[in-house]
Amino acid sequence: MESDLESTIEQRKDVLRRVKEGLIVRLNLYQIVNQIDDDTPLFGSGLKLDSVDATELLVMLDEEFGIQVSESEDPFYLRSVNSLASFIISRQTKTNKN
């Protein structure tokens, strides 16, 4: 059980790191990974992304994580770095189960 939890935590950490690195490179963020809090909102007051940046996020999901998002998807997953990570993990788990 414990190792399960540990691997879940490690997996989440890994996804969070990759998400932040992807954001930094693709969207020219001036922060480094450690400066981005997991709960930072992507839009508005947080990283201040806009709708065009959202397109680039979709490309990142596809290229980095192999996740294709349809237009009809509830955009809630784009709320923060954390919610994006959760979304990626749930999608990956789903794919693995299939």
């Binding site: 693709r26 969207l27 001036y30 201040k48 806009d50 065009v52 940046d53 397109t55 490309v59 596809d62």
Partner: protein, 850 residues
């Protein structure tokens, strides 16, 4: 008050998917032919993608044998439509073209020559092509030379409004008494980087676009168009055909976002209102609007809103989009759509918006759905909008409209602020301090030619060795510098620049944009101006040479190996207008916004245009200048090598006008000047640093013929005399000349010959300076860096010497080689582009003024 000159259209030329002649294009429009279909060139990359493509290579009449292979399509198409328009107007080969100007609008220029590297077709790579068609403004140099148009050229690079704005600049060129005619061209062949950008932004429609109705999305297209603009009396005197009349125009900046239009449509509404005011028209005079109408959700919604804001009775005005026939032709869109109006409105018919289905919720105007509407239109409006919030509106009329001329009160124009970013520091004070101390801003850079890490672009070494000409090009440089490529450059610490900036989006700022923004902020502060209150009537005109090179490179790299994964972030910021619009967005500058990418010394073109806008009173102020960044890459090293870097790598190795040494060091930075109406500057107690008394423009027209190794400078001399004429001065009134040449043999000779020729009849040799040696050659911004030192000399009565040069060329000119006390009442700033365009600006001493 002065009457504006009436500017009529006396020649047309066009190339689109639905017509390679005006006749064919008119017939296609009248039979509602849509040229958008599954792309034959890009479908293998992007799957089912549609485009309006010119698939049949047009005939290029009058082109010398063997030349076609060396030119890119942007230049060839521009030549084709430009020539057609001149033939149509009865002007081809006419002597009057030597005093006509050429304005070309294009978004993606100088691209084709490098595409083989990107698309891994290395054998198609041609050095000749990079030479003749490898720079952004080469299309102007080529066309002016082939058609012998020598009144000076400008390359307008405001993306999707480029050719619309070009029509406006052509109109101004006729207002200022310098040209009777202007040939205006829009040209835009579609290349991979452009379609990939729109594809990844997910803006492309699956089929032909359906503006204002049905599924949102745009269709991309390509083509070219040309207009001969001519002063009315001149046109009627020679019995020219008249297709219509340009009544007025305006541009504006949204100052909102790099791709999205302002949802409140303020900038789009403002540009229409300004154009109406310029033409002394009211909204009720407009009987038809040819809209931008791309078909995207955001454009169609905000454009509809903008028209509702401006026209109280908008429901009675038919509006339609020509993009439903030929897609979005980007840089050439505006002029082709304008021509479509001139060809169909005389039939008493209004062009319908094709493919019109169910109107979208926010779109409730009369879009002339699918069927022609019968109406006799006299006055119509043409609008275009671009990335970064560049907006442009033209008001035009059909012949015999009986409208009176609009009028204006000519203003005197003062320079009240200067901002500088250079390797010697930021601002005049720092720079003067560094010069006094003898500080050098340059440093030696060693750069390994092996350029690994650019995936897909072949290893640089292999690339060079696979091409004999390249091998030779680089071996010269290498022999001198051993294995490594050593360069001395003047670079700017961009972290320091960022620390000085107040409010800006750090994420969206690339180096060149931060340079421009800092220089702009300084110029505004220097002038003591409050941009919050004047931003709406302040123009921002930026001259560009190589533009945002690092961003372009990053974007281009993202196209390899899969162009469907192009970086959407860099797509808009890799465009030439990105720097100007970034500054507009950061500072809230919402007046006229234009990018003129004329190459070396492009800031002079920006100065002349800004001056014209303030002189005619259409803008209260203008912020003008240029910005450059050095980018170390294989391609650019190649370009620099064409240009002739100095082989002497000592600190003082850049010696302008030196008899024994040729070449320059690359520099980077920015220079911006704040100009405003002299009277109001005086009223508000602004510092009058100098007055612009007049300007002149010309072009050599010898770009293709490179046997001309001894440039006579006769056309530069022409520009100088034109500037003196406007200023009402003679050569004896000029106390100081400042050149902006870059120290290569050909640049030196041309500039010195031109100045010597113009000042031949002066009683004593004229004192001459050139300060590029202090800064390295900062390609587009050099004129403003020089201007700052000239204005300072006028203020202090003390002239700094030309740096580093030891033995000057033998000329009948008084090279200033040591510090001199001299009172300067009038100075002359001259400069040329690498493509052979010439400028001269007469400067008057600043306050206290008479």
């Amino acid at each position: 008050m002065l009457d504006r000159k009436r500017v009529v259209i006396t020649g047309l030329g066009v190339l689109t998917s639905i017509g390679a002649t005006t006749e064919e294009f008119r017939n296609s429009l009248l039979s509602k032919r849509c040229g958008i279909r599954p792309s034959s060139r890009f479908s293998d990359v992007f799957g089912n993608v549609c485009a309006s493509e010119v698939l049949e290579e047009p005939k290029y009449e009058g082109l010398a044998e063997g030349l076609q292979e060396k030119l890119d399509k942007a230049a060839l198409w521009a030549y084709k439509v430009g020539r057609d328009a001149l033939v149509n107007s009865g002007l081809l080969g006419n002597e009057a073209l030597s005093t006509s100007s050429l304005i070309i609008g294009v978004s993606s220029a100088g691209t084709e020559a490098y595409m083989p590297l990107l698309e891994n077709r290395i054998n198609d790579f041609s050095i000749d092509k990079t030479r003749l068609s490898g720079s952004f403004s080469s299309v102007c140099s080529v066309v002016s030379s082939l058609l012998q148009i020598r009144g000076g050229y400008e390359l307008v690079a405001t993306a999707c409004t480029a050719s619309t704005n070009a029509i406006g600049i052509g109109f101004d060129q006729i207002q200022n008494n310098k040209n009777q005619m202007a040939l205006v061209i829009g040209t835009e062949p579609l290349y991979l980087p452009t379609i990939a950008g729109f594809y990844t932004l997910k803006t492309l429609h699956q089929q032909a676009c359906t503006p204002f109705s049905g599924v949102p999305g745009m269709s991309i297209g390509e083509g070219a168009g040309a207009l001969v603009l001519e002063e009315y009396q001149h046109a009627t005197a020679r019995g020219a055909p008249i297709y219509g009349e340009v009544l007025a125009y305006a541009t504006s900046g949204d100052a909102h976002h790099e791709t999205a239009p302002d949802p409140r449509a303020k900038g789009a509404a403002q540009v229409m209102r300004t154009a109406l005011a310029n033409g002394e028209l009211c909204p009720e005079d407009v009987e038809y609007i040819n809209v931008h109408g791309t078909g995207t959700e955001t454009n169609d919604r905000s454009e509809t809103l903008a028209m509702k804001k401006v026209f109280a009775d908008i429901h009675s005005i038919p509006v339609s989009s020509t993009k439903s026939y030929i897609g979005h032709n980007i840089g050439s869109a505006g002029i082709i759509e304008f021509i479509a109006c001139l060809l169909t409105l005389p039939e008493g018919k209004i062009l319908p918006t094709l493919n019109f289905g169910r109107a979208r919720p926010s779109c409730d105007l009369n879009y002339v759905p699918n069927e022609f509407q019968e109406r006799n239109v006299k006055v119509f409006m043409k609008n275009n909008y671009a990335f970064g919030g560049n907006n442009c509106c033209i008001l035009a009329a059909l012949p015999g409209n009986g409208r009176p001329n609009s009028r204006y009160h000519p203003r005197r124009v003062a320079i009240t602020g200067i901002g500088l970013v250079s390797s010697l520091g930021f601002g005049l004070e720092q720079i003067l301090g560094a010069i006094r101390k003898g500080t050098s801003g340059s440093a030696l850079k060693t750069w390994r030619p092996s350029h690994k890490g650019e995936e897909g672009i072949q290893d640089f070494e292999d690339w060079i060795s696979s091409n004999e000409m390249l091998l030779q090009q680089f071996s010269d440089l290498r022999k001198k510098n051993g294995d490594q490529l050593s360069l001395r450059t003047h670079e700017v610490d961009d972290r320091a620049v960022r620390r000085h900036l107040k409010r800006f989006d750090t994420r969206k700022a690339n180096r060149i944009s931060t340079f421009a923004l800092l220089a702009g902020e300084q110029a505004i502060a220097n002038a003591g101006a409050n941009i919050r209150t004047t931003g709406k009537t302040t123009a921002l005109i930026i001259g560009m040479s190589k533009g945002p090179q690092a961003t372009i490179s990053r974007y281009v790299e993202s196209l390899v190996p899969d162009p469907r994964r192009a970086r959407t972030f860099e797509f808009p910021s890799s465009l030439m207008n990105a720097i100007g619009t970034f500054c507009s967005i950061s500072k809230g500058i919402k007046g006229y916004n234009t990018t003129l990418a004329n190459g070396f010394n492009a800031a002079l073109g920006a100065m002349c245009y800004g001056y014209e806008l303030v002189r005619q009173g259409v803008q209260g102020q203008a912020l003008v200048g240029g910005a450059d960044e050095i980018f170390h890459s294989a391609l650019h090293a190649l370009q620099e090598n064409h240009g002739g870097l100095s082989p002497n790598l000592d600190e003082d190795g850049f010696r302008v006008y030196d008899r024994d040494q040729s070449g320059y060091f690359m520099g980077e930075g920015a220079g911006m000047a704040y100009m405003e109406e002299l009277e109001s500057a005086g009223d508000r107690g602004g510092p009058i640093l100098g007055i612009i008394c007049g300007y002149g423009k010309s072009c050599d027209g010898s770009y293709i013929d490179d046997t001309n190794s001894q440039p006579s400078g006769q056309w530069l001399a022409k520009a100088i005399s034109q500037a003196l004429d406007e200023a009402g001065l003679t050569v004896d009134d000029i106390d100081l000349v400042c050149g902006t040449g870059w120290g290569t043999v050909s640049s030196n000779r041309k500039e010195l010959n031109g100045i010597e020729r113009a000042f031949m009849h002066r009683s004593h040799p004229v004192p001459l300076v050139n300060y590029n040696g202090f800064f390295g050659f900062v390609e587009s911004a050099a004129p403003i860096l020089n201007l700052a030192l000239v204005l300072n000399a006028m203020k202090e009565d003390e002239i700094l010497p030309i740096p580093h040069t030891r033995s000057f060329e033998t000329k009948n000119l008084a090279f200033v080689s040591r510090k001199e006390r001299l009172s300067v009442r009038h100075a002359l700033l001259v400069g040329s582009t690498e493509g052979g365009n010439n400028y001269a600006v007469v400067l008057g001493k600043g306050a206290p003024y008479e």
